[in-house]
């Protein structure tokens, strides 16, 4: 089912591109960019939702609410959900688009691995999933030499007798850039979040580097192009803070408007005890009605 719906069509598209450009390396690059373009609306939605959530969580009203119900987790959760509903923000809306992309990314990875068949058994499995109209005999074997690389083998550039893993280094660097672009800056004082972000920023490049160093160059090439395409997508949406990546770049003043406008509650509501909340509820609604949340388009 998975193979028929995802891996087989992806592999065939990849093979079609290979037939057109006559080079498997170029085909991997084009195919990765194509998939990134197709999934861009989902990425954009995820970025917007994530931004809206960050704006909401930074709002004084949200912070005050957290302070107020810090000893009552159940009530805090209830109030948070209320606030999310009120401003049309869903805690899942930022991760759902990413989740939808997951099968596509996994399918893309698997199709590249499948197309790089190197043993007779892998070749046979590849031959079986090639659509009849493509004629496997004309496509196979794939010419997997690209620049100095053999895409079926781990990449090393021989310089003075030493094999330098250039592609691995590029993958590590691009993953560092990508993780920094994707992870929002942590608020001062939020030690746990900062620790998690730092851990993620360290772990991801190492993991990708290990895989790229050990596995075939074709896969590493895909990682590199995918990372660069993701950074380009964030840059296209104006969400790239280059000063987070390159410390010598001066941080630009934040000129962008917040995704949503969170009005602060009137003073009496802020101090209202939870027991009188039922009374204050209509007033909160009225307040929200007066200042409707505006989603940034």
């Amino acid at each position: 089912m998975w193979d028929t719906l995802i891996v087989q069509p992806f592999t065939n598209v990849l093979l079609m591109i290979t037939m057109l450009v006559k080079n498997f390396g170029v085909a991997i690059i084009l195919f990765t960019i194509l998939i990134k373009l197709i999934t861009f609306p989902l990425t954009a939605k995820g970025i917007k939702s994530s931004q809206a959530m960050q704006d909401l969580q930074k709002s004084p009203r949200y912070i005050k609410m957290q302070e107020k119900y810090k000893d009552n987790k159940e009530k805090l959760a209830e109030e948070q959900m209320k606030m999310y509903r009120e401003f049309g923000v869903s805690p899942f809306s930022s991760c759902l688009p990413q989740l939808f992309q997951f099968p596509i990314i996994i399918g893309l990875y698997q199709s590249i691995m499948r197309a790089m068949a190197s043993t007779p058994l892998e070749l046979m499995k590849l031959e079986r999933i090639v659509y009849p109209f493509l004629d496997a005999n004309k496509i196979l074997p794939l010419q997997n030499r690209f620049l100095w690389m053999d895409l079926g083998q781990p990449e090393r550039l021989m310089i003075a007798g030493i094999g330098i893993p250039v592609l691995t280094i590029l993958v590590v660097l691009s993953t560092i850039v990508q993780t920094r672009v994707m992870t929002p800056p942590t608020e001062a004082g939020n030690d746990q979040a900062a620790a998690m972000t730092n851990s993620m920023n360290m772990t991801m490049p190492i993991m990708m580097g290990v895989i790229s160093y050990q596995f075939s160059a074709g896969l590493a090439l895909y990682f590199l192009v995918s990372n660069m395409a993701t950074v380009a997508q964030y840059a296209a949406m104006g969400k790239t803070d280059w000063s987070r990546i390159f410390p010598w770049v001066k941080k630009k003043p934040n000129q962008s408007k917040p995704s949503i406008v969170i009005p602060d509650l009137p003073e009496e509501e802020e101090v209202a005890e939870p027991v009188v909340e039922k009374v204050s509820k209509p007033s909160a609604r009225a307040s929200a009605k007066r200042q409707r949340p505006k989603m940034k388009r």
Binding site: T119, L121, E122, A136
Partner: protein, 358 residues
């Protein structure tokens, strides 16, 4: 700030390379490489080469004693008396003394790709195909004699006949090389990838081989001329394995489950039958009895030359490789099953099974 940033980056890179050195092995899916000289049995699979007891199927030993995650063996070992020659996926080719406890005589390390096909030996010359697009010829003392380069990986066992090395190429051809220096004598083009190793018949002085382009040919070894080509009127599927020769017939199978017998001389069809079950493994000849047919689904049958099934057995797992025949046994390698190797006698009784210890 920049200094701090650079030192963090350096730590990340160093950690990455450190982990890379010990983390993973090569990623490839393949099948057990079984080889025999009639008396000894060797199985190459994953991180070891095993020497099996032909009577019990127990492993006498495995090489290397301690596994190296990068060292993966799938190529069948070439057996030469008390030595074997076998390549691995760490790009190394070894001569191993197997008289007692295995010991490495030498390792050839020039290749940059994996060894997947079995090596061939003639006199003092060992010829090993490699996925780095080269065929390496070394002597018995590990001196490189010659290298032949091409555009695609070599994954099939070469054939050495007189002064020629003949090897199937994925580049839609069969290549004839000069055994002395590796220079190209000729290339015979076919319509598709040639994975199956060529088979030589001295009587007709011809090479018999099929390709993935649904064709089977006879090539005259001296002239390189294609004497005849068979495609079954367009009904033939791709051919993945070497044929067998018996009683003036060349018999082969295609991936669709078809078994075809042709006249060696003219290429005229003698007979054919179709199982309709995919098969990648080739036919294995048992002199005087018939041939073994192994289907992908694990069905193993002995057929006589009148196409009558003498017996049929079933093994657990998928069978992709041609069964190997010893003096008394039929060895079937399987993947994704209960055992890695199944041994049957010629009457179809299962004698033993082998499963590597974890």
């Amino acid at each position: 700030m920049i200094k701090k940033y650079l030192s963090s980056l350096l730590i990340v890179l160093l950690a990455g390379f450190f982990l890379a050195g010990c983390a993973m092995g090569p990623r490839a899916e393949s099948t057990p490489g079984i080889s025999t000289d009639g008396n000894q049995i060797f199985v190459s699979y994953m991180n070891y080469v095993y020497k099996l007891d032909p009577v019990t199927g127990k492993a006498f030993w495995r090489f290397p004693e301690k596994s190296n995650i990068k060292q993966v063996f799938y190529a069948p070992a070439l057996i030469d008396g008390e030595s074997i020659y076998v390549g691995d996926f760490a790009n190394d080719f070894h001569k191993i003394n197997v008289a007692g406890v295995p010991s490495v005589d030498w390792t050839f390390t020039d290749a940059k790709g994996w060894y997947q096909g079995k090596a061939a030996k003639d006199g003092g010359l060992i010829v090993a195909p490699n996925s780095d697009r080269n065929i390496y010829a070394v002597d018995e003392d590990n001196n490189l004699v010659w290298t032949h380069s091409d555009r695609f990986a070599y994954i099939s066992e070469p054939l050495i006949v007189d002064d020629m090395v003949i090897v199937s190429s994925q580049d839609h051809k069969v290549v004839f090389l000069n055994k002395t220096d590796g220079s190209t004598i000729r290339e015979v083009g076919l319509n598709g990838v040639v994975i199956a190793s060529p088979l030589y018949d001295a009587k007709t002085d011809s090479i018999y081989v099929g390709s993935l382009a649904n064709e089977f040919v006879r090539i005259d070894r001296q002239s390189g001329e294609i004497v005849w080509r068979y495609d079954g009127g367009g009904s033939l599927g791709s051919i993945w394995a070497q044929p067998i020769i018996v009683d003036g017939q060349v018999i082969f199978n295609d991936k669709t489950g078809k078994v075809v017998s042709l006249s060696m001389e003219t290429g005229a069809e003698n007979w054919q039958f179709n199982f309709g079950v995919p098969q990648m493994a080739g036919l294995a000849l048992i002199e005087g009895k018939g041939f073994i047919l192994a289907l992908e689904d694990g069905t193993i049958s002995l057929y006589d030359l009148d196409q009558q099934a003498i017996w049929t057995r079933s093994v657990s797992g998928k069978v992709y490789d041609t069964p190997v025949i010893t003096n008394e046994l039929i060895l079937v390698g399987a993947v994704k099953g209960d055992y890695l190797v199944y041994a049957f006698d010629f009457q179809g009784q299962q004698v033993w099974t082998f499963k590597p210890e974890k």
